[in-house]
């Protein structure tokens, strides 16, 4: 649940920066680095994609919110596919954010407070998302090893057998 709140905050900040990049608002908030945010958001890197990078970020956070919210506490075995999409969404989003943080001073020569904030949010989401990811992967591994059940069907949650207490992972997901 804390991850979903973080992702929502990330979405609102990214969406705000995207509004500036789409020229829907004239100025952008920057408390520390002068016109740093403006320079970063109008840099060649920010405009290297078909749509502005903050808009891509906003889409990424929405994917995190949706895949973080679907399903209940035992979704690591009832719907592994959503857990793994969630884990894959959280990881690369963090990696891209950090890559952009490196490029701000090195390539653009400016810092951007809100970009640093969203990068910090992305990094904070990775750790807590991974326990659930691990639980799902271990579950699929056990299906693969010990049962004549299909990993493919288990991945999509099509035949979720009750897991006996002795093999239940100690991982208890934080989310959902």
């Amino acid at each position: 649940m804390p991850i979903i709140i973080l992702a929502l905050i990330g979405f609102f900040i990214a969406a705000y920066m995207a509004l500036f990049q789409f020229n829907l608002i004239d100025s952008v908030w920057e408390p520390f680095f002068g016109d740093g945010t403006r320079r970063v958001l109008t840099s060649g890197i920010s405009e290297a994609f078909p749509i502005p990078d903050a808009a891509l970020g906003a889409l990424g956070y929405i994917l995190d919110v949706v895949t973080g919210a679907i399903g209940g506490r035992d979704r690591w075995r009832t719907m592994p596919w959503i857990v793994i999409i969630f884990g894959l969404a959280v990881g690369p989003l963090g990696a891209v954010s950090i890559g952009l943080v490196m490029m701000q001073p090195v390539v653009v020569g400016a810092w951007c407070t809100l970009c640093l904030t969203t990068a910090a949010i992305s990094v904070l989401m990775i750790g807590p998302a991974m326990d659930e990811m691990l639980a799902s992967l271990q579950y699929l591994r056990r299906v693969h090893d010990t049962d004549d059940r299909s990993v493919w069907r288990a991945f999509w949650g099509m035949d979720t057998a009750p897991v006996s207490a002795s093999v239940q992972p100690e991982v208890t997901p934080d989310v959902a």
């Binding site: 090195v106 807590p128 326990d131 691990l134 591994r141 093999v167």
Partner: protein, 120 residues
């Protein structure tokens, strides 16, 4: 927790250091790249399931120690890079408290016997 917070703070310090200590490239660029990397791995390693990623920071720390020689740093940047590198390596060695077994952890995924041992 605190070893991870120390390395995260050192990573953020590296991002600010070129401005605070007033040094330029190549040291500034290297520190502005290594800083976010070190802070990121430190923060991810706060959680027990991903704690072992703390070890990655030992590599970045080693690079900080040799970078002044290889890239030709001058002045305060030399001391800063080496000092931060040494502390980052030292702190990354500290495992901290890990209470969960997590079904054998990530190694259980490719070595299932680890999962069985963890359940004994």
């Amino acid at each position: 927790m605190w070893p991870r917070l120390i390395n995260a703070a050192l990573g953020i310090w590296l991002m600010a250091a070129p401005a605070v200590l007033d040094y330029g490239v190549p040291a500034a660029n290297n520190d502005r790249i290594m800083g976010p990397l070190i802070a990121t791995f430190a923060v991810i390693a706060i959680w027990e399931t991903t704690r072992e990623l703390r070890r990655v920071n030992a590599f970045w720390g080693a690079w900080l120690i040799i970078a002044p020689l290889l890239l030709g740093y001058e002045g305060a940047a030399v001391i800063n890079s080496i000092a931060v590198g040494v502390v980052v390596i030292g702190v990354s060695m500290i495992r901290g408290k890990v209470e969960g077994h997590f079904g054998g952890g990530w190694t259980a995924l490719w070595r299932p016997e680890h999962a069985e041992r963890a359940n004994d």
